[in-house]
């Protein structure tokens, strides 16, 4: 663990104010102003109030596009029987519109994801994509009549808690700490 002993509660100390500002294209209001009222008294107020909005928006868009890709992919192969040959499966998928929507969304996802990764740690941004498990589940439980069992609700809670924990860490490890700069 890279941190100095005794202070490993957070993955990383929020760096000095100068370093914090360096990556933030839109500093916005002061840290305390952005903390939702409900969180101010819980002690869960963000230790890293300087996550750029471009990162937040990029992650949200990634979850949305991931959902679109998964749903359209499912729809593209929905009518094809399981025992169809490879050729029949491919031509079946290509005959409808859904495959092309999925490919478009995949291209958009690639561009968007590269922009997120340019600004945030991979180990910070990637776990947020687990939220698309929940959006897909919600959508398919409406349209495909898959039911929500108590076990599934448990799973939803655990994934939300996991993503929440990761959102408490700092979005970017400073270059000095990563050992990429001498």
């Amino acid at each position: 663990m890279g941190s100095k002993g005794g202070r490993v509660q957070r993955d990383q100390d929020p760096s000095g104010p100068a370093a914090g500002n360096a990556y933030d294209p839109c500093p916005g209001p002061g840290p305390t102003e952005r903390i939702p009222f409900a969180l101010r008294r819980t002690g869960m107020a963000s230790p890293n109030p300087r996550i750029p909005r471009t990162v937040i928006a990029g992650i949200a868009l990634a979850v949305l596009l991931d959902t679109v890709i998964q749903i359209t992919w499912k729809l593209a192969v929905a009518g094809i029987p399981d025992d169809a040959s490879l050729g029949a499966t491919v031509s079946g998928a290509l005959s409808g519109p859904y495959f092309y929507v999925a490919m478009l969304a995949f291209g958009a996802q690639l561009i968007n994801w590269m922009r997120v990764l340019a600004r945030a740690d991979l180990s910070y941004a990637q776990p947020f994509t687990a939220l698309s498990y929940l959006t897909v589940l919600t959508l398919s439980s409406h349209t495909l009549h898959e039911h929500l069992s108590p076990a599934r609700l448990c799973g939803v809670g655990m994934i939300l808690a996991g993503v929440f924990l990761i959102s408490r860490t700092s979005h970017r490890t400073p270059d000095v700490q990563r050992g990429t700069r001498a």
Binding site: M1, G2, S3, V8, Q9, R10, D11, Q12, L110, W113, M114, R115, V116, L117, A118, D121, L122, S123, Y124, Q126, P127, A130, Y133, L137, S149, A151, R152, C154, G155, V156, G157, M158, I159, L160, A161, G162, V163, F164, L165, I166, R168, T169, S170, T173, Q177, R178, G179, T180, A182
Partner: protein, 126 residues
């Protein structure tokens, strides 16, 4: 090999390839080898073209396509309720690769978050 162990091997391969794809895309997104931890950067720097982002992005997209193929194959051998939570092990793979090769601060909080996500996905697929 029985059907299910073939399936398990395919899922594990898919998870490894997807984690690698994410690492390659991250290196590409930050402009090439410069974002690697210094000891790996020195080795990679011997190949001049790896200083640019294009080869990393190409390899990353290629690895991602391979992952989709492997996972689809795996689903022919395994039930989704097994394949899906195993597939979410890629969150561990990404955390480990980020820590080792990129020097990211992956501490207890991040690992705990990843563990909850994997447990949660096992419950989702129950």
């Amino acid at each position: 090999m029985s059907g299910s162990s073939t399936g398990l091997a395919l899922v594990v391969a898919a998870v490894a390839v997807e984690s690698l794809a994410q690492l390659l895309l991250k290196v590409g997104a930050t402009g090439g080898a410069a974002c690697l931890a210094s000891k790996y950067r020195a080795r990679v720097a011997r190949i001049a073209s790896l200083g640019r982002p294009a080869p990393w992005i190409t390899l990353g997209v290629g690895a991602y396509c391979l992952e989709v193929f492997l996972y689809t194959l795996a689903l022919h051998h395994l039930d989704v309720s097994v394949a899906f939570p195993l597939g979410s092990l890629c969150f561990v793979g990404v955390a480990l690769l980020s820590r080792v090769f990129l020097g990211e601060a992956v501490g207890r909080t991040r690992f705990a978050g990843v563990a909850l996500i994997i447990l949660g996905s096992a419950f989702l697929a129950w």
